[in-house]
Each structure stands twice: as structure tokens, then as C-alpha cells.
Symmetry: none
Subunit: 205 residues, 4 copies
Amino acid sequence: MHAVRTDPDPARRSDASRRAILSTAFDLVGEAGYAGLSIEGIAARAGVGKQTVYRWWPSKGAVLFDAFLMLSEDSGGSPALPDTGDLEADLVAVLRATVDELNDPRYDEPMRALNTEIAHDPDLARAYTERLERPMRELKKDRLRSAQRAGELSADLDPDVAVDLIWGPLLNRWMLRGGELTGDYAERVVVAALDGLRPRGGAAD
Amino acid sequence: MHAVRTDPDPARRSDASRRAILSTAFDLVGEAGYAGLSIEGIAARAGVGKQTVYRWWPSKGAVLFDAFLMLSEDSGGSPALPDTGDLEADLVAVLRATVDELNDPRYDEPMRALNTEIAHDPDLARAYTERLERPMRELKKDRLRSAQRAGELSADLDPDVAVDLIWGPLLNRWMLRGGELTGDYAERVVVAALDGLRPRGGAAD
Amino acid sequence: MHAVRTDPDPARRSDASRRAILSTAFDLVGEAGYAGLSIEGIAARAGVGKQTVYRWWPSKGAVLFDAFLMLSEDSGGSPALPDTGDLEADLVAVLRATVDELNDPRYDEPMRALNTEIAHDPDLARAYTERLERPMRELKKDRLRSAQRAGELSADLDPDVAVDLIWGPLLNRWMLRGGELTGDYAERVVVAALDGLRPRGGAAD
Amino acid sequence: MHAVRTDPDPARRSDASRRAILSTAFDLVGEAGYAGLSIEGIAARAGVGKQTVYRWWPSKGAVLFDAFLMLSEDSGGSPALPDTGDLEADLVAVLRATVDELNDPRYDEPMRALNTEIAHDPDLARAYTERLERPMRELKKDRLRSAQRAGELSADLDPDVAVDLIWGPLLNRWMLRGGELTGDYAERVVVAALDGLRPRGGAAD
DNA sequence: GATTAACCGAGACGGTACGTCTTGTCTTCCA
DNA sequence: TGGAAGACAAGACGTACCGTCTCGGTTAATC
């Protein structure tokens, strides 16, 4: 006894179509923006029947998500964060790079589109968290744990909160355009996060 | 020198229609979600011609924004943040309230909808920043400046960065569903932001 | 006891507006065709409020009808048909002139528009018959009666049927584009109508 | 060399939708009149997407035309005109039947609507002439040619002019409501057309 | 090697919403 | 109060996509 609606057989899947769909989706959202992204358009541009998209993805967001996934896999996954022994310098370098990426029009629109879909689709959000966000977060936590071992960070720190504290402000300002997104801003966030808002007891900063 | 396309005359505007449209927009997005929000639907439910919507608002997002604006004005604007003299306690209280609001289904969907419209529409983002975000941010900064005067915060602190540090992680986790959004999480963020990630010099807490 | 909706007082009517509306209506239908004729457009082009149109005319067709009426009155009404003593020659001349008018793009579209409005609006049809069609028909009948007196037409002829027989085929072919509308065709119709379809008894024509 | 805009594939066409659209169009125009005929309304009543109408017909008039075409094909096409050997009697009978049809409200409005569309759309007029008018005209001409062979009509008669002479006045009076449309009128037209307007040479008629 | 089942491209289908246009009514303000 | 101006509710216009479906034409695994 099994489901009536038989799932498609992944073995027979056309990889050419799959890749065409995903890269077309990424291209289209970059060119025409979030509003200009349609399954109709993806299928037409990719030279693919609409059914082929609907057969393998449940939603436009899922296509977009897979497009990002393919991109990240094709580029060999994410490397570890730099670890020079100077946490502050390393974080500033990483965040400055992130700022550059977020300001790059080639990535800005697609990422906004993906985030929008995630914000409205819990299933997609889960997939995103597990497949893309968590691996990146683990890299960040690895670096922080290394800093903890080096005594640069409090021993009793919750690494997840720490990651949120460092990256959250940046992403938030980017998404909602709550001010210019510059490397300097990133640096000030890192410093503030590391030192904390309260005055430090000892010698002046 | 001015545009050919003369803007409609605000003096002749029907306030009844305006309010009907705005509250309908808010209701609809709450009931049917972001995807279920259409100008067609708003006009129909509000008993208003579609043209009346298009005459006064350039986009669906602008309607939604005005709906929030009306809501905030009708509720008499935002009051100052509590100031008991204990910054940490005050911030925890405020953020816990924010968490409750974000978890309230009546506000969750509409706010997501507004935020995603903002994310894709720079004009709307500017309006949001100026009319809604900045006033709230000023209240937050007032509280932080009060704490600075009381010696609870570093004197050379950039209040904008401070606000981002405290509220950014929360909003980010909410929007992207990057984990459960609880009062405890809010509290941990406040503590981490105030103390900083680095070990404090003295005996420390 | 009388109607609630008081009719407007014709004495106060602005003649400038009236004339502007009528000539604009005629121009517009000539330029943009029947489909491009709207009360909105007439009012805008004539520099007149929409209400001024609605106040004085019950329908788009009525405006168009009045436009024709004004035109025919401004051109001093219709003169009598030529009467040289040779009925056939006179009819051919008149019908050839009619053919030329119907083929003139300046009159073709407006007349089509008026005729189709008439076809769908009995009130308008009545007004048309009484104010425009009947006067012209009387002129035609006058010429035919003159021919009857001269022995050129049967004494017991119904002049209305005769007029229909001569002009009907022409108008019909014009409206439905049932073939090229030429002076020769008009001539053949006149000859056939005068002689009849049956063979003539004697040596024949 | 051919058009870029590829026409839809007729093989895939849904005959059920096609027939639903056509009969709905005919019904609607009969019920609500020409003004009450909209593609929106046809699609809704026929249980069909608007795009299905737009895909297969270029205009409202084309739908209406096809509706008439289907009607005439479904009723097995037009039979030959009666030929009892007495042309006058046959013509009177046919025209009386036509008068009845034109006075039948079930056909009056739809035909007016079709004629209106034809009057304003040359393409449609061409289609009408070729597919509906010409076949009917051939039947009429057949009957007239039979009469010519029987010596009832002039040998040198142009059958097209003859048809126009007989049917033109009728159609014209119907369309423009230029007087009551009765069987008697039809009879008087037939007699006048056959005998001609001129006095006949021999014994009185 | 033939069968056969599923994928493929294509695209028609019933729908929903878009943003624009026009309708006929109503209101405001000017002369 | 007539007229210019134009906002209003209503709804049709023609277009773009939605997600489902059906059609032949491959294509790959099974017999």
C-alpha cells in the first residue's frame, strides 16, 4: 500500500534540465528582480516544460533555494573562516567581505528574493536553516570557539548568541536598508560586540 | 517645472474610503497572508473601486505601509521606553514584549509582509525608515543616552550601533526563523550585548 | 405631481459648451473611429465637464446625432434634388454624389458610428427618422412626385417604397461592405429600379 | 518568412470550450443586448478562462461571427430558395419569412450586434461576406437565374444588382428602423422591384 | 531487441490579479 | 445655479502567470 500520487523517480531525472532551471532562475532574479521571477519565465528561458519545474520543486522559492545550493556546492562549499590569532581583525575582514557581497548587485537581488521567500514559507525556512545557514554558522562558531580556547572570548559564552550578535545587525541593516552598509559600520559592530556596551572596568579602551 | 501627470487633489480625498482601504489591507494580510493580499481583494472587501486605490497609492506595499502608519497614529504613537534606572532590566522587559508581539499571529504576518515589501522597494524603505523606524529608534536611543548619563554605558558609544546590536539579532531571527524566538533568547542577547563577547578584566560576573 | 429629477433649464445653457461638445464628438469619431469615441474623451477635448455632457444628452449616440444635426443646420439644410426633367440622369447624379460622400473617410466613420448607434437605440432611431431622415426623404419624394407628374413614373407608385428601392441597396452595400461602392454600381441600381427586373414588353430599352 | 507570434495549435483546441463560448455569446447578446456583451461575461458564463477566448478570437465581433457560423452549420446550412415557377410568389414568401425572422426578438438583437461589428471591422466584414453572405447570395442568384431561364426576368440582368434591389430595402429599413417592417411592405418591394418604377408600356398592370 | 513506463518539451486549459480605461453619479468650488 | 474639475464605485479591457492537464516524442530500465 502506497500513496496514490507517486513521487517522480529521481533516477530518471534530467540533470541538464535541472541545471538549466536553476541557473536560469538565478539569472532571471538578478536581471528582473524578485517581481520579475516567474516559473513561466524560468521554464521558457531554460527551454524546459513548465511541468518539469512543477514535478521537481514545490514552489518558486524552492527553485531559488536550490539555485543557491547549487551555487554554493559548485563553488566547492564554504571554506573555514580565517584564523590569524587576532579575532577582531579576522571578524572585521570577514564582515567587510560580506558587506561587499551584499552590496554587489549580482547577489543583492537574488539574496533578497530568497530571504523573502524564506520569510513567508516555514518549510523553506527549515530547509534553508539546515542546508545553508547551519553549515555557515558552524564555520563561524568554529572560529569563535577557537578564540575561546585562546582566551579571546568569555568561556561561558553561547556561540549562537555570539554569532547573532555579530552578523545580525549587518543582515538587518541590509534587508531593511536601515542606513548605508559600509565596511566601517561592520567594523564598529564588531568592536561593539566584542567590548560590549557597558564601560569596561580597567584602563580606558 | 513639474510633472505632466498631475497628482490627485488631496483635498477631495474621501477619508472614509482611505480608512476602509487601510484597515481592510491590514485585516486581509492577517487572514490570508502575504500571498493572499491583492489590490483587487482590498478594493472589493473595502467596498471601493480599484481606481481609488491606484489613485492614492503607487503599490501594494505603500498601502500596507500606510496601514501600519494609521495603526501607529491611531494608537497615539509610541510611548517612551521604560527607564527604571536599571538598563539591563528595562531592555529585557522591552525585548520580551517585542518577542511576544512578533509571536502574535495577528502581527506576525502583516509585519512580515511589510518587511518584505520594504526589502524590495527602496522608495518604500525610505518612507519606512523616516516615518516609522526613525521615531522608534529615537526612543531607543533616548533610553540608551539616559543610561550613558548614568554611567551604565560607555560614554563614547555610537547609539545607532548600540541599537542595532540589541535589536538586530532579534529581528533577524524572527524574519528568517533562525531558531525559536523566546524571551530567554532576548535576555541572553541583551546580556551579551551589554557585557560584550570578550572576557571582562576583573573577577567578573 | 411631477418628476423628481428636474430637467435642466435650457435657457441657461451654455451655447459655447454645446457647440464645443458637438464638434469635438464629430472630430473624435472621425479620428479615432467608433471605438475611440467616449464621453470622457469628448469632455476632455472640448474643455468641458463630464456632467455638462450628461446633463444635456442621454447617451453617446444622442451627442453624435446632435453633432450631425448641427452640421446639417450649419450648412443651411439640404437643398432640393436636381430636376432637369430627366429623372434617370438626376438620380444617377445624386447617387454618384452620395457614393462619393460615403467613400470620403471624413464622413464614412462618423456616419457608420451614427448608424450603429441608431441600430441599437430605438429612441435615437425615432429622433433620427424625424429630424434627419424624413426631411431628406421628403426631398427625394418631391423629385419622384415631379417625375410622376411628368409621366416618368407609374402613377400608382408608393413613393416611400420607391425611395427605399433606389437608396436602400446603396446604403446596405456601404454599411456591410458587401462589395465595392462605385458610381457605376449606383447607376446600375438606378436603371434596374426604374426598369424593373422583369423583361419589358415592347422592343425594350 | 512568417510571423513571429506563433498562432496557437488548432489540433489541441478544446471543442467543448469552443462550443460553450459560441453559444454563450449568442445567448448573452440576445438577453442583454449588444451593450451587455462582453468577453468577460462570455468567459464567465461559459465556464471558460478569458485567455481561451483571446487565444482563438481576435475580437468580440469574431466570436459573434463564429457563433452565427456555428448556428448556420449546425442547422445544416441554408436550403435552396423555393422555386414553384412563380418568381413573384416565391420572393414574397421568402421575404415574408425574412421579415418574421427579423422581427423575432431572438434573432433581432444578435443580428444587429453582428451587423454593427461588421460595419466597423473590415476584416470581419470580409469574413462575413465570404462565409455567410456569399453562400446565401448564391442561393438567391440561383433562383433568379432560374427565373431568367423561364423568361420571367430580363436576360441581361446583373443578378447581384437584382439581389440588392430586392433585399436591400428590407435590411435597410430593419437596421435603421425606418418604418414598420411588415410582410406587406416586403410584398410591395418585390412588386416594385419586378415591375420597375417606370410605367410599363402595354396594358395597365 | 522489444516493451514499457516515466520523463521530457510544449502548450491549452480554468482561473486570479494586474494596472488602465470608461461609465454615470456626486461633490466642490468658481463665475 | 450652470459649468469645469475631478473623486468616486463599478466593472470591462487585454496581459501575465498560476498550477493542472494532455499530447507526442524520447529515453532508460525491464523483460
